[in-house]
């Protein structure tokens, strides 16, 4: 009998330990996913911040550039750089045949002409001389140099030919291949060529959308929250508004995209693919988030503040505007930043309103077509070229960086400025 009881007790204790273990492993699993995730993004993405350059001697031959010995600035602008660019690539191998010359040309980006041009515009005295110029390597060679490209594949399955690899290895041996920090990733717009693609256009698109979103959502949400928390009578209509807000907070984001498409584009004929429409769509989405946060922080202001103001003869509007709202601002602001961070990461509604179009210029205003950072991730992730994989990861790192900064900022505002009522 006694033994039986002990067995039972042991069984119960074992069950207790098992249950505890389940809980621990659940936490562990969740954190494991997070770690794998971050590790994967960083390990594939960090190489994108380096860019491979080929150092190629260029002979700035005036005759080939079709200019005279002492050209003016305009002459230099209009000069023909294609021939000398082509020649300097072909000169890498003296006995190359035509097909091989073509392959040599494709070892660098199609910007090579412009890179050579910039060189001479910076220093016109180079005419007639030979100088080593840094040329952007093609994305395939870039990947080869970073070790992301399998070299042991049969030649017909590779995008780099054996001949190109031979020349490239030769250049590497001579020290004519260099890896430098990839500034163009931050300053160039999107491009079809992975080696020239940058996040500048989508970054500006994101900034403009977020600004439009902030300018619309913040005032409307704060005013709505003030009304609902401080002035609204308790009746059915107020309840209806509240139900609406709570539901909107849980409506899938893509439905807001359909709203933007069906109302903003189809009825109001706002310009397609622009951060303006994107921002308005996102503002409708963040509206409930900000309202809920602002209401919570208004509610947290103790009634004694209001009572004191009212007792001093302030009207209800004065009480609210002079005392309650300023005290609730830290909470409201941190809620707003969190809402904006959500909007910054949103993709699906922006795709529907056409912000997925290929944009190779940097937008200068919210009325210009643009992509946004998350949409850029989507566009690049759908591209087949290997060079884009690391770009996607790098773009994700930039986006996550921004989200982390915004969330930290929200935390700081909350902890530094929020009054603790006890």
């Amino acid at each position: 009998m006694n033994k039986n009881k002990e067995q039972l007790l042991n069984k119960r204790y074992r069950a207790e330990r098992r249950f505890r273990l389940y809980g621990q492993s659940a936490i562990f699993m969740a954190l494991l996913f997070l770690t794998i995730f971050i590790f994967k993004i960083f390990s594939t993405g960090y190489t994108a911040f380096q860019k491979t350059w080929l150092i190629v001697p260029v002979n700035f031959d005036a005759e080939m550039m079709m200019i005279d010995q002492n050209p003016s600035k305009e002459d230099l602008q209009d000069a023909d750089y294609y021939d000398i660019a082509l020649k300097s690539m072909a000169d890498l191998d003296q006995n190359a045949n035509d097909d091989q010359k073509n392959q040599l040309k494709r070892m660098v980006s199609y910007f090579f002409e412009k890179e050579i041009k910039n060189e001479i515009l910076n220093d016109p005295s180079l005419i007639g001389k030979t100088k080593e110029v840094y040329l952007t390597a093609s994305d395939d060679l870039d990947q080869v140099f970073k070790g992301n490209y399998p070299r042991d594949l049969p030649e017909d399955q590779r995008r780099v030919s054996d001949y190109q690899l031979k020349i490239f290895d030769h250049l590497v041996a001579k020290g004519k291949v260099e890896s430098k920090f990839n500034i163009s990733f931050f300053t160039y717009a999107d491009s079809r060529e992975a080696e020239l693609a940058g996040i500048a256009s989508s970054f500006m698109g994101s900034i403009f959308s977020i600004l439009v979103c902030l300018m619309i959502a913040f005032p409307v949400a704060v005013l709505a929250a003030i009304y609902l928390e401080e002035f609204a009578p308790k009746n059915r209509f107020t309840d209806f508004i509240e139900v609406n807000i709570n539901n909107l907070a849980a409506v899938p984001s893509i439905v807001f995209g359909l709203l933007g498409l069906g109302v903003l584009l189809a009825i109001f004929h706002l310009p397609r693919s622009t951060p303006l429409v994107g921002g308005i769509t996102l503002s409708l989405m963040t509206l409930p988030t900000i309202i809920i946060a602002a209401r919570a922080s208004l509610k947290a202001v103790p009634p004694s503040i209001r009572e004191a103001a009212l007792a001093m003869g302030a009207s209800r509007m004065q009480t609210t505007m002079h005392h309650t709202v300023p005290l609730s601002m830290p909470g409201t602001l941190s809620g707003t930043i969190i809402g904006l961070a959500q909007a910054l990461g949103e993709t699906a509604p922006l795709i529907l309103i056409g912000m997925v179009a290929f944009v190779n210029t940097i937008p200068g205003s919210p009325m210009d077509p643009a992509a946004s950072l998350p949409v850029q991730i989507y566009i690049w992730a759908e591209s087949a070229e290997r060079g884009f994989v690391e770009k996607v990861s790098a773009c994700i790192m930039v986006l996550l960086g921004f989200l982390i900064i915004m969330n930290l900022f929200a935390q700081i505002i909350r902890h530094k400025f929020e009054k603790k009522w006890s």
Binding site: Y227, A250, P252, G262, V263, L284
Partner: protein, 461 residues
């Protein structure tokens, strides 16, 4: 022009604020008692100055293009043009008047371009005149009221109250906007495709309904067996089911552990770390699923002799599950923490272990709240877009094999609407019909979930 006028209104508004306040001081200095603080006199005058002018200004800006268009096109009204042709003529007129027209200039269009320009200049100047006279009239009225020292605080506060109320209508307007944008397209869609075919048809192949020219658009036989949404609905719920199989055990157990077992130190670090998972944009999850999890599962399957698609439902659903973990864990954590301590104490006093207390006492007590959190998680899973678009197939297969690829409502909406859309094409309308069904399903889930959670909260408050 508009910008100048707008700035002018704003500037006048500010000036009249100071003007009104000065007036209040002069009233005060003549030993009369003010009826409100001086700044209310300022606000009163500023509101009267800016708001009526601004209303007229915006109404004008909205209606001017329509009226000008009507007047310009009235010349063409009895010549038997179609609406589209009239629109084209109007566009030509406008670009000619801007000097950007590059086509052949006919005398007709030249005449209407001149008319357009003269109408525009009349409209601009009369707008300025009307707005200015409105300002003068309303400021004069308000100034008279101020001078006679009548009440200013009440009207100003009433106005502010109205502004606050209008802002709170934004939520209702958004809901109305959603329903409005979905419903017309959906109705048009069901005029072409019978509701029955949509709800019970088993073939989804919208690419077949690609309209080459408008004469084909209304041929219903073309669309038979094209818009059967069963595979889409099945795929949506299937992927959501896979996601919940990942999210419920992990989310619920971590919620329970955090609420009942974890020391305050573990809680302090583990809880925000898990919530990071909720803050990661879904496109990032999509990339992860498509590039890491999909190929990994395919390789794993091949090594075990299984045929696994690189875009399997399992990859998309699994990653979606990871995304939902924090929603379930933090909501159930909240719910469990709000179960009164007395229930726990009672159970411990009877000799129950911690896990027995959780399983037999706390869990049943918290069940409604937990169900609510799971329902919210399901609604997230159904509405999730980017993971499915990137990681799962885009062809709608009717399958319940997690190793094959399927498609979801959200993914189909994106597939149909990406790029240029022609409104009035059944394919585009189909996307709105899918959006409508998505909206309705998630709306029901949300309402039920919110109600359950609210009921539960009230029970223990």
């Amino acid at each position: 022009m508009n910008l100048i006028l707008f700035t002018f209104i704003v500037l006048l508004g500010f000036t009249s604020y100071y003007f009104g306040r000065r007036k209040a001081y002069t009233i005060q200095s003549s030993k009369k008692r003010l009826t409100a603080l001086p700044q209310f006199y300022g606000y009163y005058l500023a509101i009267w100055c800016a708001i009526p002018a601004f209303i007229i200004f915006s109404l004008w800006a909205i209606f001017e293009p329509t009226i000008v268009k009507l007047l310009v096109l009235s010349d063409y009204s009895n010549q038997g043009y179609l609406d589209d042709e009239l629109n084209l003529i109007y566009e030509k007129t406008k670009s000619l008047s801007r000097g950007q027209f590059t086509g052949e200039i006919t005398p007709f269009i030249e005449a209407s371009a001149e008319k357009y320009l003269s109408l525009r200049s009349i409209a601009q100047s009369s707008k300025a005149v009307i707005v200015l006279s409105i300002i003068i009239a309303s400021v004069a009225y308000a100034y008279k009221r101020i001078s006679s020292n009548s009440r200013t605080r009440e009207p100003v506060e009433k106005f502010l109250n109205a502004v606050l109320f209008t802002a709170s209508l934004a939520a209702i307007l958004t809901t109305v906007g959603i329903v409005f944008s979905l419903i017309f397209q959906t109705i048009d869609f069901f005029k072409v495709i019978p509701l029955f075919d949509f709800v019970f048809g088993t073939h989804w192949y919208p690419a077949k309904a690609f309209v080459r020219d408008s004469s084909e658009a209304l041929d219903p036989t073309m669309y038979s067996d094209t818009f059967g949404a069963v595979p889409i609905f099945a795929g949506t719920f299937f992927i959501a089911l896979i996601a919940m199989c990942v999210a419920i055990p992990i989310g619920l157990m971590s919620g329970i552990y955090l609420a009942e077992y974890a020391s305050s130190k573990v809680r302090k670090y583990a809880k925000p770390l898990i919530e990071i998972l909720a803050g990661i944009p879904t496109v990032v999850y999509g990339f992860f699923a498509a590039l890491t999890v999909g190929p990994f599962l395919k390789e794993l399957g091949t090594s075990m002799g299984l045929e696994v698609s690189a875009e399997s439902a399992l990859a998309a659903g699994g990653v979606m599950g990871i995304m939902i973990i924090p929603f379930i864990s933090s909501l159930s954590d909240d719910v469990i923490t709000s179960v009164p301590q007395s229930l726990r104490d009672g159970s411990y006093a009877m000799g129950a272990t911690k896990s027995e207390t959780i399983k037999r006492v706390i869990f049943p007590a918290a069940l409604p709240g937990i169900v609510g959190s799971i329902l919210l998680g399901v609604s997230r899973a159904i509405g999730e877009t980017m993971i499915v678009v990137m990681a799962s197939g885009l062809a709608a297969n009717l399958t319940f094999n997690p190793l094959e690829s399927t498609s979801t409502i959200t993914a189909q909406i994106v597939v149909i609407l990406i790029g240029d859309q022609a409104f009035g094409d059944p394919k585009t309308q189909a996307a709105f019909a899918l959006g409508m069904s998505l909206f309705l399903v998630t709306l029901c889930l949300n309402i039920v979930a919110l109600r359950v959670v609210k009921k539960y909260r009230e029970k223990y408050e």
